[in-house]
């Protein structure tokens, strides 16, 4: 995934972390329709989504 692509398609404010061969997109502030669209797009691009996790406000502030 290219960063330029992510900037065009992910909601603003997201963070991107590459670690141990995995890419983590965090702080994706969007709703169900936004998340579904994003996951489907990754799927259509052949990206394997390993985990989708809800990040609570508390976790974000920590």
């Amino acid at each position: 995934m290219e960063e330029e692509f992510l900037k065009d398609y992910c909601p603003s404010g997201f963070t991107l972390i590459y670690k141990n061969g995995r890419t983590t997109l965090a702080n994706l502030q969007t709703d169900q329709a936004g998340m579904l669209g994003l996951i489907r797009q990754f799927h259509n691009l052949g990206v394997t989504v390993l985990l989708v996790e809800l990040q609570s406000e508390m976790e974000k502030n920590q």
């Binding site: 900037k7 065009d8 398609y9 992910c10 909601p11 603003s12 969007t30 709703d31 169900q32 329709a33 936004g34 579904l36 669209g37 994003l38 489907r40 797009q41 259509n44």
Partner: protein, 887 residues
């Protein structure tokens, strides 16, 4: 492709009592200043109702496309886009629409340009709503939408309604303030709006605390609130419902839907479940599915009771269930067992079939696993569907039919064979032909049906062989096909005649090829089969050109264009094959404007339809026209494109003209080495025997010989002239005869044989006068004019003079100056200086003064120039130097 039903473009009517949402309408108004309006939220949040309310609140002309699952196919999507926009621009993308209706998809860059360019200068505001955009995942469509957002004029607004965010660069649009979006949180009903829904729309008086509690429990979800309201219309008490909803009911939708359904009378429940299979409902379909006779009244009643059914027209004839509700109903129906569901699908299919909706009935027959009905439909409509249904869609249907059923139906196999032949999928076609061969052998002795099967099999094989240039065998099988069926089936007969005509044309049998092709045209025109008609007409036109029948070529092509353009259902874009052939007629007549007009249209349609053969010959024609006008760069570009189309897959008979044009261009550029290599690479050499295939290339060798200073193997070339003349005369290939006469005359003249030269030219002039060819003389006017100074042929002089006013054919250049080419006689720097001054009109004295040398020195240099350029006079030296690009 299946007809685009008008309901697809219909803005859904708004219910009389829907809750107005001013805060959201205001936001949508702001969308008119942005590039895209996006309403993105899960099902049941009121997206459609909101946008329809907004459309009613403003004056912009609105267009609507309800997208469906099958619109993932670009052909279907773009057809719908064009059909929709033709409501405000009737001529919008007419050619492209015909191409899409023929189930062909042009390259995406061409497609985008075709679709967007006409809208750029649209001086009319409009808004286009794409509803249910979540079905669109195809990258070609998504890229087009992205381009449309970027390039459409500001007066043209685009709104997307979707359950999930589309794969478009929304973040980028947001950051540039080019997007106005309404999302789930915006659409959630606020308590005041819920209150209006209950009181005004559902006529349920509820106290505000109850309304607030229900709004909270449903999280402002419009469908949930409506279902809750419908539950409350029965005996359920608001407090009990709220309690149930808050008692950890995880699947609120199911809970509410069950509540709503269960409170309906049993016959209504039954009606809702059984009709849920239909994507569009009307009274007849519902009657057939349910066995009732009062479906019309019932549908109206359901609509009035807000039961998630939506009218699609003002006459209340067509309806559909809200997607969410339909899904629930179908899930519940599935619980009733596979047998029951299959039976209902069968009834649905029969109902649609009764309305003549064969394509729509297919999916229901497939769901009912009624393969015999599917096969019967395919067998009866395959020819029509291969011309009009997107390949992917047809392949999807075919993939659902078990192979053993496919292989046991020869008519279906035959249909598949034509499908793969038109698709250019030759490996699959070979497999089908093998399966058919086995099958037809099993069917001995022959019944009437199996005779027709064998005849069609032979016609299919013959057309395949004709494309592969195996003309002898193609002709043999086409004849066998025709003899077998004795014209009992016109579709097969026209296809067999097409293969026969194409094969005979390649074999050089004019009379029989003409009769066969005229038969193919007549039969296909009688039974309205435009594709066979067009292919036969283009063969016949091009063949008439080969035989010098310019008038006949023109009248055949013009009649076909006139006939096909007046078809009520439009014409397939493969008609470009006829336009291109007619362009060649005008080229030969030296009518460059008409030639360009028809060739360009031929190229345009060939690109759209992917008809590679006509793309190659139309581009080669355009290259010839550019060469005639001296625009070598444009000619080169045309030939490069033609080469690319040939590589994509085109029959071999288009190749000689392409090679000949490439060689001709190289000659005009003075690149003789390349011109010769191009001809050599074709495999046809000056000693090859003349055939309908090799003749054009052999003429190319003559052109090369004409321009060479010294004719290598001179005798060989003159023998080639003789052989070509004999071949062309014997076989009546008058265009080759004409070319050989002109080129032969020039070669004779170069050899000092003036009498022969004159005779050849006089014959050529007579032949051209009878047939209307003019450009052939203009192509060689640079060498014919000096010849005509030696002996006079008034008719040719008049022709060159008259035609030369129309366009100027450039003189071929000699090879560029280099030491190697001039063999040690290149001009010295001083000679070049003298030459330039001579060209500027200076006298010897002026040159001597200018160069500060003696008059004798100038004379010395001039003598050197004359010797090296092979001239004897100053004006000849200047002309020769200009020709060589020295000055």
């Amino acid at each position: 492709m299946p007809p685009l039903v008008w309901t697809k473009f219909k803005i859904p009517p708004l219910r009389a009592k829907s809750v107005l949402r001013p805060r959201l309408l205001e936001k949508l108004n702001r969308g008119l200043d942005s590039r895209l309006i996006l309403i993105s939220a899960p099902a049941g949040f009121g997206k459609t109702t909101l946008i329809v309310q907004w459309l009613q609140s403003q004056t912009l002309p609105a267009l609507w496309i309800s997208l469906e699952e099958t619109d993932y196919d670009p052909i279907r999507f773009f057809s719908a886009w064009i059909a929709c926009l033709q409501q405000i621009i009737p001529s919008y993308c007419e050619d492209l629409f015909q191409v899409l209706l023929s189930a062909q998809l042009p390259a995406s860059d061409l497609l985008t340009a075709e679709l967007i360019n006409p809208l750029i200068h649209l001086n009319q505001p409009a808004i286009l709503i794409l509803d249910d955009f979540q079905h669109i995942q195809n990258p070609v469509i998504l890229q087009f939408i992205q381009d449309a957002i970027a390039y459409l004029p500001s007066e043209f607004h685009l709104a997307i309604l979707t359950r999930e965010d589309p794969a478009l660069p929304l973040a980028r649009l947001r950051s540039r303030n080019e997007l106005v979006e309404i999302r789930t949180n915006d659409l959630r009903f606020e308590p005041l709006e819920s209150s209006l829904l209950f009181s005004d729309t559902l006529s349920i008086p509820l106290e505000l605390p109850m309304v607030m509690a229900l709004t909270e429990r449903t999280e402002g979800w419009a469908a949930g609130l409506q279902l809750a309201g419908l539950s409350l219309q029965g005996s359920v008490q608001p407090a009990d419902l709220i309690q149930d909803l808050s008692a950890g009911t995880r699947f609120m939708l199911n809970y509410l839907a069950e509540e709503v359904l269960n409170k309906q009378p049993q016959d209504i429940q039954d009606f809702l479940l059984k009709t849920s299979l239909l994507s569009t409902l009307n009274a007849e379909r519902c009657n057939l599915l349910t066995g009732r006779e009062d479906s019309a009244e019932l549908l109206e009643k359901l609509d009035k009771s807000n039961l998630f059914i939506q009218s699609l027209d003002e006459q209340y004839q067509y309806y559909r269930y809200h997607a969410l509700f339909a899904e629930l109903l179908r899930n519940r129906l599935n619980r009733q067992g596979e047998q029951e569901v299959r039976l209902l699908h069968l009834r649905a299919a029969q109902a649609l079939l009764a309305e003549g909706l064969e394509t729509e009935s297919l999916s229901h027959f497939l769901a009912a696993k009624d393969y015999s009905a599917v096969v019967e439909l395919l067998e009866n409509h395959i020819w029509e569907w291969i011309n009009h249904t997107p390949t992917a869609q047809l392949e999807e249907v075919l993939s659902q039919i078990p192979p053993e059923i496919q292989s046991s139906h020869p008519r279906l196999l035959m249909g598949l064979g034509w499908f793969y032949l038109l698709q250019g999928n030759f490996p699959r076609l070979t497999g089908i032909l093998q399966a058919l061969e086995n099958r037809l052998v099993e069917n001995q002795p022959l019944s009437e049906d199996s005779i027709l099967h064998r005849a069609e099999f032979l016609a299919l094989q013959a057309n395949f062989l004709q494309v592969q240039q195996k003309s002898d065998l193609a002709v043999q099988l086409a004849r066998q096909s025709l003899a077998l069926m004795e014209r009992k089936n016109e579709r097969i007969a026209s296809l067999a005649y097409l293969a026969l005509g194409g094969g005979l044309r390649q074999m050089g049998n004019y009379e029989e090829a003409r009769t066969a092709l005229e038969n193919a045209i007549q039969i296909s025109r009688n039974r309205d089969d435009p594709v066979t008609d067009i292919l036969a007409v283009s063969h016949l036109t091009l063949m008439a050109l080969e035989y010098g029948q310019l008038e006949m070529a023109a009248s055949t092509a013009q009649a076909a264009i006139q006939h096909l353009e007046q078809r009520p259902h439009g014409y397939p874009a493969v008609l470009g094959a006829v336009y291109g052939a007619l362009g060649w007629v005008y080229y030969h007549r030296n009518q460059p404007e008409l030639a360009a007009q028809f060739l360009l249209r031929g190229i345009h349609l060939a690109k759209l339809s992917g008809h590679n053969a006509s793309a190659v010959y139309s581009l080669a024609g355009m290259a010839r026209l550019h060469l005639a006008q001296g625009d070598l760069n444009a000619a080169r570009q045309c030939l490069q494109q033609a080469e690319q189309f040939f590589q994509k897959g085109a029959p071999g008979w288009v190749l000689p003209e392409l090679i000949s044009c490439k060689s001709h261009l190289a000659l005009i550029e003075g690149n003789w080495v390349d011109a010769e290599s191009i001809l050599h690479a074709s495999g046809v050499t000056p000693i090859s025997p003349p055939t309908p295939y090799s003749e054009t290339l052999l003429v190319g060798w003559l052109k090369l010989a004409v321009l060479k200073e010294e004719i290598e193997a001179e005798q060989g070339i003159m023998e080639l002239v003789q052989r070509l003349l004999e071949f062309a005369r014997t076989s009546q290939r008058n265009y080759t005869l004409l070319q050989t006469l002109v080129l032969g005359a020039i070669l004779h003249f170069k050899k000092g044989e003036q009498t022969q030269a004159r005779h050849r030219l006089e014959e050529a002039v007579l032949l051209a006068a009878a047939s209307g060819y003019r450009s052939i003389f203009l192509e060689h006017q640079h060498v014919l004019l000096p010849i005509l100074r030696t002996f006079r042929i008034p008719a040719l002089e008049a022709l060159l003079h008259q035609a030369g006013e129309t366009q100027t054919f450039p003189s071929p250049q000699k090879p560029p100056v280099s030491d190697k080419n001039l063999n040690g006689i290149a001009l010295t720097e001083r000679e070049m200086e003298v030459l330039r001054l001579l060209a500027q009109g200076h006298t010897y004295n002026e040159i001597a003064e200018h160069l500060v040398v003696s008059l004798n020195t100038v004379r010395f240099h001039v003598k050197g120039i004359y010797g090296k350029l092979g001239v004897t006079k100053v004006n000849q030296a200047i002309a020769e130097a200009r020709r060589q690009g020295l000055i």
